[in-house]
Symmetry: C2
Subunit: 703 residues, 2 copies
């Protein structure tokens, strides 16, 4: 029995390779440390790229939302979490949980922490490293120095809103297709795809940085031909970031080093195209980038163009790179041609045309003669080696001698190639930092060209960012919905939220697009803050610090939370955290409880937002009674999704206009759905009665 | 270049093996034929078990619901489907679609159709066979004769209700855990698991057959020790059904035949235990079952206990089964011990203690001597074969001679074993029909013991099935929810729906369990009709022909259907199809539209069910105004989920009692969720105002 030691634990967060790694997604492992003051330290690392980051949040709710802002596969907890909290974490983020006690920074890793000093951050990062050392059982020198993400640098979007708005995956099917990410992804490299995902998950707050990105997009948009050529070049760039990760980790193979070389060979053309595009900001940065030309040289001379995946079977090193290797190869090749000649000679000597020389793993080289021809062989010269049904196989002393030569040469070649390859691999390690910088640059160029491409294809415009908190969108569209419905059928809508219009109360029939209108505004705001252009004819936007949404319903039978409780919890979170710089979307709040309770709560919530928070808010409702608030609250305006009745049928115009809806068309939808006539007719009668009562109440009040 | 022919197409419905096959799930391929009169023929087959069935439905809605009642992976359509219909099918069932033009019954397969005569059924089945022949490119003799499923033999549960009730998977995560199937699954074999899933998907309508199953469950329940022993025995039975499928298909290997033998060896003990349990019905059936003892004999004598997976490497056939094979084996074994002796002899002759004889694939057998000892070798006797860094490897003429003997013997062994194995495999084919009957019996015993086990563990009772359409449940529980909440916290509830109580109108606060109460009744009814006992203290139930539910919400952004449209479509389907023998669950109908529209529709729907359909109906609502209907409609009764206010806080009792709810506690839930006090206090004030208005209306009406 062979004694086996555990040499490495593979956990969801420490997978380096294989089918579980998604090309355009990071694979973050995250360590969460709960501190004595109930604040939390978060450290994350992607082993495949070597990227690592640390941040702090002050309470558990924020922790959940922060963790939701990147693709985390596994969370390592500090000890002392309750079953309940851990369960909540696992459920809401769908991650694997692990635990790590140690949190002191391991010796020898101080250099990774040159960017952070705060003890909490060091403890958080220490836990991550300790866990990695314990499971990986090897040095972590391939990690890049840790980056600190200060709070308040990115727009906060809570977990529910991320899901409801379908930022990176759809709500129900959990697929990228149908998400905002899908709509804006025109990247052509895997690393560009990953950076884009990071950007979508973390929209910016800095006006300067957003406008820098916008400027770049504009430059790329203005140069169609250069951009198309650039896309073609980028398509030939492999996943530099993960290739460099493998170089650093020390498990890169020859085929991957050739991919690295081929990618690097595209750099001059790429940079030349970008220079032609002529954005000053990016061109200055290009000057500072090392193009690793000497590495290209090394790889070109050392490795063949199409080496095998295995590094233990030879066939990797180029002829001419190493003298001794060339000598062995000559020997092997000569031996083989000698054998081909021998076959010819033997045929002539024996007169057996079907005589052939073959090779198999068990018997080595042999001369095969069919049984019918055996009598033609000269006696004593051929030694029988193997008997087949119709033939005999022989060897001769000369054949055996050459065989030994060939086999020995081949063994030496394999060994020597392996040694040479390891040397080359070590040399490549010297280029890790410049390669990482290069990968970063290429990723960013890819995302920017993607923004330019998608903006051109779908007629997006550059939003103007304003300090005055006003929203003015003309002809805005939902970036996903406009793509999935038939061409030309999407109805664009304006959003006008300037002075005196900070809360819009939306009424109107179902199926007319209230939710789409609300989501559309949030998505346009997010697109604006990641630096992309937006689906509209014109857009003026403020910079939102946070986005809150309460849209759609999600009953969770087993967890025991009813729809309405979820609704209230999400609303509470919004009311607690929102500022006047936030965007709040509330869809039919109160629907989950009885009529009057719901109506009362909805009104109280609107009043609170209006008086206390003053955030920009879209509030859709089926309580038409609430439209009276327009008269009482100065910043509330009624809008509705319009419909017209023509010859007894209703046409939904999907157009949002000022004023309240006349009626809700619920019974009309029921007719469309095919409910029996007797039901809908009876409903019409009942409705008339109910509305009659309302009028009585109204007149009663006037009295 | 080797010329390759397509020998087989593997599609989702024709996978035979590997990781994509789930143990406890069938893998149905289904062919759908649309006839000229807009009716549809459905033919399905599970290639892994050989099972095949045909049925007919009269319209497209029914087709969808029928297809949802079994685990279908792929649907083969007749030509002429519109893009739109095909898309709907793919979307709602998550299946792969294929097309097949031919529908005539292929020659030679008439014997599979002995049970069906109707031309439509033959066309449907013909299409399935044609597709299989075209993709599998081989005979389909392993299919069992097709079974006809007449309509109206099973309870109809539409697609939405199956999902909402979470019969075989949960709504959101699509996992078995948390479903009804999960709750009742105490089967211990894969085939029992599959049969159980079929039963859960297709509850019965025949009182006689349901009571037959109940009787069996009761017998098993009464014999705890025999049942536990039976479970132990069953755990050792492999997946007979799929093993037989492989025998029939002709790709079974030796390891699987040993699994078959080991499973068959459990049969006598299993049958003896069942006989002890002593249910007359099942014991009579046991008499008719062939236990395949002669097959056990054959397999025991022919195959070793632990053969390899590959059938081309020998090591399968038992010593003593075949003389010639035994002879070869002797030769090989003798040769090997001769070599061991030679090593000893050579060490003595040369005086080299470290001398050893080894074997590798390239050079065969060799004598290895370290370089330090080479001078000790007698010259001329050893022929150098390979040079290592520290040693040389040699052969001698005798060694080579024995090597040829050993290798030749081994080659012959492998070939002969392969031939013998194929003969055995052919013989096993004669047992296919009795094996299938045996597998069917074992599956059923497993499901029944599982019902008995789950009924005992969770205190289920045998429901009494009544002809009088009355429902009387005492202490009913939700089979899933009672498992996932902490022990003892589940509050059981009665259902009383006898004369004058065919529609229950449920009001009460959120989070108090209205939806759970409704689902619970449907699940109890379904459990009763699959023959299982039910989670209650006492239960009298009618046999329901159909179950309809409109519970929960599912907004589908991209498809453009709003919540309310979905709500109305599902309601329409229920109103159209339900009979007085159906069960209808409607949860907050009207919630998706404006207040008065919704209220009017809800009332009109209740009236329609009351006057026209007379189905048993649970209707939950937030429109407390509807409770007045109790006075107007004779069969409507108000019930509510109770809560008590104690010292300013509300305690939900989760108990359903007669009468309408006092209030809805929506504002209380908002307080629980932590909404700012200023909001909830203001809501209280507004609510008081609104309720004041209502009273005015009421008094106005009385005037």
């Amino acid at each position: 029995v062979v004694k086996r030691e555990v040499i490495k634990l593979i956990t969801p967060g420490t997978i380096m390779d294989g089918k579980l790694i998604v090309e355009k997604e990071n694979n973050f492992l995250c360590a969460v440390t709960r501190f004595e003051d109930q604040s939390y330290g978060i450290a994350r690392a992607d082993l495949t790229t070597g990227e690592s980051r640390v941040s702090l949040v002050s309470e558990q709710d924020d922790l959940f939302h922060e963790l939701a802002s990147s693709s985390i596969k596994e969370v390592v907890l500090s000890p002392g979490w309750t079953e309940e909290d851990a369960h909540r974490l696992r459920q809401s983020l769908s991650v694997t949980l692990s635990e790590e006690e140690a949190e002191d920074l391991p010796k020898g890793y101080e250099s990774l922490c040159e960017n952070v000093e705060q003890p909490k951050l060091l403890r958080a990062f220490g836990r991550l490293l300790q866990y990695l050392l314990r499971t990986q059982k090897r040095s972590l020198e391939h990690l890049q120095p840790v980056q600190y993400d200060p709070p308040n640098e990115v727009m906060k979007i809570d977990l529910h809103s991320r899901r409801n708005l379908e930022l990176v995956e759809t709500l129900r099917e959990k697929k990228k297709k149908g998400s905002l990410l899908w709509a804006v992804d025109e990247t052509v490299t895997a690393m560009g795809g990953r950076l884009l995902k990071q950007w979508v998950e973390r929209p910016l707050l800095s006006k300067k940085e957003i406008e820098r990105r916008q400027g770049l997009v504009q430059s790329f948009l203005d140069h169609y031909f250069e951009r198309e050529e650039l896309r073609d070049e980028l398509r030939h760039v492999y996943d530099l970031e993960r290739l460099v990760g493998k170089v650093a980790y020390g498990n890169v193979n020859a085929r991957e080093l050739v991919q690295l070389r081929k990618s690097l060979q595209r750099i001059p053309a790429i940079f030349a195209l970008v220079e032609k595009i002529g954005n000053q900001d990016v061109n200055e940065r290009l000057q500072t980038i090392d193009r690793c030309e000497s590495l290209v040289d090394l790889l070109e001379h050392s490795l063949v163009d199409d080496p095998p995946v295995s590094i233990k079977e030879g066939g990797m090193i180029r002829d001419g790179f190493h003298k001794e290797l060339d000598t062995y190869r000559d020997a092997s090749r000569n031996g083989k041609s000698w054998i081909a000649e021998l076959e010819q000679k033997e045929r002539e000597a024996t007169g057996i045309k079907s005589l052939k020389i073959g090779y198999n793993k068990v018997f080595g080289y042999y001369i095969e003669v069919t049984k019918a021809n055996i009598h033609l062989l000269e006696e004593g010269r051929y030694e029988r080696k193997q008997t087949l049904t119709n033939a005999e196989r022989y060897v001769t002393p000369e054949l055996k001698e050459k065989e030994a030569l060939i086999l020995n040469a081949e063994e030496s070649i394999v060994q020597l190639e392996y040694d040479l390859f390891l040397q080359v691999r070590e040399q490549v390690k010297d280029y890790i930092r410049p390669l990482q910088a290069l990968a970063q640059m290429i990723s960013e160029l890819d995302v920017i060209q993607g923004f330019a491409t998608v903006s051109e294809t779908h007629h997006y415009v550059r939003p103007a960012l304003q300090e005055d908190r006003a929203i003015a969108i003309k002809g805005g569209r939902h970036p996903v919905v406009e793509r999935v419905i038939p061409n030309g059928e999407y109805v664009a809508n304006d959003v006008d939220m300037k002075d005196g219009r900070s809360i819009l109360l939306i009424t109107g029939p179902n199926m007319a697009g209230k939710s789409t209108y609300m989501r559309q505004l949030a998505l346009i705001a997010i697109m604006g803050q990641i630096g992309c252009f937006v689906p509209a004819d014109e857009a003026r936007l403020p910079i939102f610090d946070q986005v809150f949404t309460r849209i759609g319903a999600a009953d969770d039978l087993a967890s025991g939370q009813s729809t309405f409780m979820v609704e209230m919890l999400e609303t509470k979170y919004a009311l607690q955290k929102a500022t006047q710089n936030s965007l709040i979307l509330l869809d039919e709040i109160g629907r989950g409880t009885s009529t009057y309770d719901g109506m009362a709560l909805a009104q109280a919530i609107i009043e609170y937002i209006h008086d206390e928070i003053r955030a920009k808010t879209l509030f859709s409702t089926h309580y038409h009674e609430l439209t009276a608030l327009e008269k009482e609250l100065s910043d509330v305006k009624n809008v509705h999704v319009s419909a017209v009745e023509e010859q007894g049928t209703v046409v939904f115009l999907h157009k949002v206009v000022d004023g309240q809806a006349d009626r809700s068309y619920g019974i009309y939808v029921a007719e469309l759905a095919g409910l029996p006539n007797v039901v809908t007719e009876r409903a019409e009668t009942l409705l008339a009665e109910l509305e009659g009562e309302k009028e009585i109440v109204a007149s009663e009040k006037e009295v």
